[in-house]
Amino acid sequence: MIGIERRYPFLKKIIRDSPFDQTEIVLLAEDSSLTRFTHSTIHQHVAERNATLILRVISNKRIVVLTTNLLTPASIENLFERALSIAKIQPPNEEFLSLPQKKSFPQVKTYYEGIDYLTPRRKVEILRKLFLKVKDKGLHASGSFSNGVVELLVLNSLGVEAYQKYSDLVFHLIVHDQESSGYASFVSRNPSSFNIESLAQEAIDRVRRIPEVTIEPGEYEVILEPYAVAELLSFLGYLGFHALALQEKRSFFCNRFGEKMVDERVTIYDDGLEEEGLPIPFDFEGVPKKRVVFFESGMARDVTYDSFTAGREGKESTGHALMAPNTEGPVPINLFMKGGTSSLEEMIRSVRRGIYVTRFHYTNVVEPMKAVLTGMTRDGTFLIEEGEIKKPIKNLRFTESALRALSRVKAISKERRLCSEGTVYSRRFITGVVAPAIHVDGFYFSGASKL
């Protein structure tokens, strides 16, 4: 265990002795492991232990952020000296109001001891079981298997004291032969709910083992699996669901609250406490997470705030601050889309001719105000004819507005799935999106992947 709680007295003393108007310390520690495999052989198996301290100080509305993983008293003392000299040379940021005050946050279970049983040997045993299962089917497995324990401590000079321990397990699996591939993934804070047999079967069932056909680009009815829907929702969150984008007038929500922007069956929200997702009870400023609804039955409703963006409008933070220094804004990281009434099978049966998309790859923004995105399909794109998945097709490029797609929803699945890229750049803090599958009346594919 990492045990950052034992640093409490030391860090509290630092804050008490701080010469600044306001002081905040965030300590993020991780103990993690990641195993990658391709063609049913392990080629990478790594482990990491690290702890990072982020010091944010405010002096006459001048803000400085210093980060270190050298956690000795001398090193931290040096941080304060540097912060003093940097603060002096800045003009004040008059829009800054204050760091948040102390608030209580609900107790949420985010750590499961079973994570500690995933030793290198046990992980390899799980993977060997997987390799044997796919070999029996004449297939190969590629993917990654990652597990970690993260501890987050937030303290500030206004009395905020928030500590939480997290566990997570993320498994991405691509099962493939020479002609096609199938994908399935698992993410949870609770490793006991992980079952490699069922995950492998799910990916195997998607492999069609017949050559892919090329179809002409154009507009098609589509069934988007939760993985693909989650990607669209993440981009909406980044582009428009937060206060900074709105305040800078670059959000698609500008002047549209109260307006029906998407289909009335669409409700999208952020909730750090809902157990179906990856619960996070407070943000990186120690503010408890509030549920924020972005689209309610198709109507544009609200955005997320951190203390800076809330202070600008005289509002309260909704608990969506990210790690400082954050220039992206309070981007929501616990997105949910409400499920519908259909089963996936019913949705497929209702399509006369259309395309079934498992997931997207390398999506990017084309026009932010219209939420026009482009990206490729990957690991399971199929032609649906007369209500049945008929054949695999070569990956397609889509260029489509996520908002337009959500305004053309014909059906939403009852079942939802927690999806996560699980990708960790720099510091581990896994986030996820809970999404259903959706049936969209028209979705534009602008090209195909064909040499």
Partner: protein, 480 residues
Amino acid sequence: MKNLIENILDLAKLKRVDYADIRLVKRQNEEIGIKNGKVEAFAQEEDSGFGIRVLFQGAWGFACSSKINKKEMESVFGKALKIARASSRAVQRKVFLEDTKPKLDSFSTPILVDPFRVSPERKVDLLLRSEALLRSKPKVKISEAFMGSYKTEKIFASTEGSYIEQRIIECGAGISATAIEASEVQVRSYPNSFRGNFATRGYEWIEDLELERHAERVAEEAVALLYAKPCPSKVTTLILDSSQLALQIHESIGHPIEMDRVLGTETSYAGTSFIQPEMVGNFQYGSEIIHVVADATYPGGLGTFGYDDEGIEAQRVPIISNGILVNLLTSRETAHLLGKKSNGTMRADGWNRIPLIRMTNINLEPGNWTLEEIIGDTKEGLFLSTNRSWSIDDKRINFQFGTEIGWEIRNGKLGDMVKNPTYTGITPRFWRSCDAIANRDYWQMWGTPNCGKGEPGQVAHVGHGAAPARFRNVQVGVMK
């Protein structure tokens, strides 16, 4: 420090591992962001630790820690060995490392002015002055300036006897103006989008960028784009400026030629490649005027270093010659599959990541034209500049890019400005359609400081040299 390192390498030999290496890395970063007249972020970061890579019975193990002391290093070595031992039970092909001569050396990127010795006042002042000029146009609603300085000090040592110390300093800066009117948002940047241009140079690089001199034009173009005509949708002739061409090289040449992608070890995240090893030596990647080199020695390139993180010396190697694919980016573990030696491209994003095959400076060699001659020789087409968005499939075949700005070309002259330009294509078809490249006077190095790959994620700093070039029969205006 040397004693601590030797202790681990001795331990590794005692445990009869096939091979082990240790890297100690210390990094120092400073990033300053100005937005709308305010210091949005002034952040400094320091980070240090070590990582140990162990090869045991043909399988890799890696463990790392931020605590640098004898006890922790021995514990981490034990963990790396345990991981390798466990992984060896599920390895179908044992790792083979090519022989290499041990190196004892040190390397520093040459700089004139250490950016970490320049006062914060001077940096903030330069950015505030440049950013203020962007606000001279009222329709510019978001004005930004950025500066980043990065220092990496690292030691590499292996059981084969290598001991290499390196110090790499990088910096860069940029400005951008976002003009907004009603639901229209348009951005212009200088010298490049996404924070600017970066190099392994000192503060002299920042000053040479002359941010203030370009601010007014950047603001004017952002506003003008609000009223520009939309990019037409058609198949036409395309001329790319060198900054956009740099990203085109990055995505559609740099990534597909990474041998780990070719072999499938990036399948689960970044993807694979349409390239197969047997295509080396005979695949027509581009037209005959396409010459691409991987050059880790180019002075100032963001992908410039002395040795890679396997202790292989930096090299300049041809990748595409006369349009033919002649080599890939390789490592000690993969080069032998091509019958070649490693070309030294294994780099790790800090102490807590394993080295992966990464681009160095992937440069398109200059041609013989002037840009004016290329435009003058084009009857009808588009000239596009400065990247705004990018996307490419997992095999690197189908790409789509958007740029900040474009101009129509009619009868050999630049015409009306167009907004929201996009273009799409198929990698080899696109490169084969290149029929003109501007000469060395127009050739420039561009630093890409945000190349993502690997799990856990790694960000590499890489470079691309390019001059403007012309491509025929390209689909532009990719909207419904």
